[in-house]
């Protein structure tokens, strides 16, 4: 599905150059469930942003479905992104002014899906994540777990083949956290590729493979026995 080759990312501020990623080589196959772990500041989020095309590498190659997209500009990346990748964030990032249903529908608006079909798909995915009874509530009226379920629904409503999750359980208590993890696992079993950044070893256990990052480099990769 994607392949990173000798990929580096440096950040330049006034006088300090920070190397967030250093010669990273990773390959992720269709249908995989990959967890990325490592201490704070090791480059996990940078890696996830680059995979998610929200950021571009300073050097190296990024092959997404056989296409090297390392040098693409923002608008080109946006097009590839919206058809392939869904996101889930630690802080949910729901839009406060929109209802649950409208938040989920937002993902389809940029896909030019006709209104009737949008409604049907939103209803279906809300059912799937068990949030249908809250369709007309505002995000502020929901619990954290419910909000994250809405975010998951939004990430998959466009039939994206890959979900990137940035500490999806970071703001949740353990019961809700587990709920979300089970949902991700279920999606993976249906064929969705999942890449997840997490601090929690127990949540990383849901993944089939764990990549450990340290100071911008891949240290170890553990593959879970089937």
């Amino acid at each position: 599905m994607l392949k990173l080759h000798n990929l580096s990312r440096t950040y330049q501020s006034d006088e300090v150059e920070t190397m967030a990623l250093n010669n990273v080589n990773i390959e992720i196959k269709q249908g995989e469930f990959v967890a990325i772990m490592g201490p704070s500041g090791c480059g996990k989020s940078t890696l996830l942003n680059i995979i998610g095309m929200l950021d571009s590498p300073t050097s190296g190659d990024y092959l997404f479905q056989e296409e090297n997209i390392a040098g693409y500009n923002e608008s080109k990346l946006a097009i590839i992104r919206k058809h392939n990748i869904g996101f889930i964030f630690q802080s949910f990032n729901l839009i406060d002014e929109l209802t649950v249903a409208e938040n989920i529908e937002l993902a389809l608006l940029y896909h030019k899906v006709p209104a009737a079909e949008r409604k049907a798909r939103v209803a279906k995915v809300m059912d799937k994540v068990g949030i249908a009874h809250r369709a007309n509530h505002m995000p502020s009226q929901l619990s954290g777990g419910q909000q994250q379920r809405v975010a998951v629904a939004r990430a998959v409503v466009g039939n994206q083949s890959m979900i990137l999750a940035d500490e999806p359980t970071g703001n949740l208590d353990s019961a809700h956290g587990q709920e979300v993890m089970e949902m991700l696992q279920a999606l993976n079993e249906e064929g969705t590729t999942i890449v997840m950044v997490t601090h929690s070893p127990s949540h990383a256990d849901y993944a089939k493979r764990t990549i450990n990052l340290f100071d911008g480099q891949v240290i170890t990769q553990n593959i879970k026995a089937a």
Partner: protein, 841 residues
Amino acid sequence: MWRNYLTIAWRNIIKNGVFSAINIFGLAVGLMSCILIMLFVREESGFDRWLKDSDRLVRMHTAYIKADGPSFLTVRSAGMMMPAVRDYAKNEIEDGVRLIPFGMTVRKGEDAFDETLTMADGSFFNIFDLPFVHGDANSSFTKPLDTIISEKMALKYFGRTDVIGETLTLCCLRDNTVPMTISGVIKDLPQATHLDLDILVYLQPEIFAENDSVLNTWTSVNVYTYFKMRPGVSVAQLQERLTYWVNNESQFRDSMSDFSSDGAEKKQASDFMQHKLMAVPDLHLQARKDAGNMGDLSPMGDQKMISTFVIVAVLILLIACINFMNLATARASQRAREVAMRKVLGASRGQVALQFLAEAVAIVMISLLFALVAVELVLPLYNQALGRELTFELFNDLPMLFSLLAVALLVGLGAGLYPALYLSRYLPGHILKSNKSGESGATAKLRTALVVIQFATSIGLVISTAVVFSQTNFVKSIDVGYVSDNKLILNVGVARNNLESLKQQLVNLPEISSVVYSSEAPTQDNENSTFFKLMENIDGQTANEGQIFNYHNVGYGFFEAYEVNPIAGRLFSQNHGADKLAAPQQANEQVNHASVVINQSALKKLGLNDPQQAIGLTLFSQNILQDYPFELKIVGVIPDIYFRSVKFDVRPSIYMLNPQRFRVASLSFKTDDIPKLLKDIEEVWKNNVPMQPINLSFLSGMMAAQYESEVTEAKLFSAFSVLAILVACLGLYGLAAFTAERRTKEIGIRKIMGARVQDIVTLLIWQFSKPVLIANLIAWPISIYAMTYWLQSFPYRIDLLWLLPICLVTGALTLLIAWLTVGGNAAKVARANPIKALRTE
């Protein structure tokens, strides 16, 4: 998609009620001012354009160029010009017409009214194709004394419009009454015309004597001359033909030979007498510069006022737009997450920018709705202030509707473009992860800069308003040199035959202390000038050159009634029988004698410094009473008194006593019972001058009327300035509220470190005082420069040093307003519990 944009936009408007209200109110005020000013400007610049073939109509203006001193300008021209020019420039001119307006008393049965009649050549309707209600251009205006009246006049005299064949009586044309038979009725002219035609009378040139100065002269300017050019001819082309004719082929060129021969270089006739053509649609706004002080057929417009108002409208809109930009970018952090998420979900930058632009336009459209309502509410007041009947019917007025939509769209784009680009720039990864606002220092600086611009603009407007007001008050308070209290001015032009008995009966009224006659009352500006020559040789004056002086005729007691005291010599007195100017009993070749009083300016013009020196000197003139030669002894010198508006200089003037020229009586009264006073005077009038309407005005009212347009302008100007300041302050309030909110964490930390409430308030107030102070420093020099320039046009103006305190007070005032605006918010935030503040961040 658009529904989603609308949903988000609407919920944001509701959620941020205060900010939305500030934006909408500001924009609505801006748009309202804009609409009001557009209505006025459109009316002013649309004058006479509705006339058929208006682009082919021109009027001829005349200027006498004086080598020493200001030229004599008028929009009239000499009576003989029209036929001569029309016949000469046949290829350029289709036809021409002369208009001669004059005041007359019109009677119908027992009713009598003073009206302005306009005599016009039979070609009138070839030039001005006005629509008829009854009759038509081909048959109604073909022979002498054919009379066309407006619908309004028909209703006034007859109560109906179908009045062809009815008769009105003209009173006192050469002391005869003349019946006029109405031959046609035209529609009332709309307000937007320089023409003032209620009664139009067919001009019969033959009734004017061969040497009559109204019609049969090349130099006396008494008629309004219009031409209709042939299609395709430009004003410049015709002007060129006209000037060529004046200099080379005109019959009057030779009469000016005494001018053209003097001096070394050969001069042309047009160096002394210019004939300038002006397109009729330009007359309302441009004629002022050719009009001198005699005015036009109707009150003239003022291009300068129009431009000023347009600038003010644009400035208010600018201030409102800046509010929008500032509040939108300041609150950007609140929308940053939404923008980032939209981008993550696949929105391009263009789509996000478009969303915010659309939002801005939507807010402007909402504001426009409020503005439209506001215009409806304010329009009557506005009309009253302007003395107009502007109407606002948006749906019958497509050009207005579309230009308003265009303005709203433009304002929306102007206000929304920067926030849209700014907001759509956010890179999603950064914001979604770190929860940061993405606000950079540069944006905050830009916001401060915009606030500076806003305040500099408002301060500039306030300073200008203050200067305009000071100047207007100053002009009104100038000592005119005479006492104007308790004076009534009675027009006695129609009672010339029994002035003495009228005077006697008026003086006998217990509430009247004196009655004096004169040719003009103060504020009535008739320019009468002619040549006077000093007979005696005085030091430094070698030749007795004739000089042009303005002259007035005043009766015995005139100066005394106005409490004007001589600075040398004496005033006119019945004890000196020789003061009065009178025609000789029998025609003789001898020189006649009379006395004159001169003013200080005249003294100076004669080359004298000491008023005493002038007493006993003699002026010679042959043009003041038919062509009898007169030697006029100077018996007194008075200070300069402002017979005309203080907007103009005092002219060197000679006062003489010729009862033949008396037109007005000044009545000094000593009573508070004004209704009884007026009733008594009217009774006396009716006994003496039956069948003539009385024409009586308070001098104080006539003096106030001179400054009416300035006062109106000042009032409107200040109203718009207040609106501008209000909008700017609202913006500042919003910005302050927002900043205080954003700085809660910083304020919390400061408080934990030991800052007191007043420290925090000072901190915030200082943050907002800086831009206001800088704005003052920018606005002061610009306004001082602009207002100095504006004041140049007044011969008497306030001391420029006054600008300094005006600037300082304005500065202090804006600072105070800014403090009051910011202070409340600052105090609220400063008093909040710091722990709470720190937890929320």
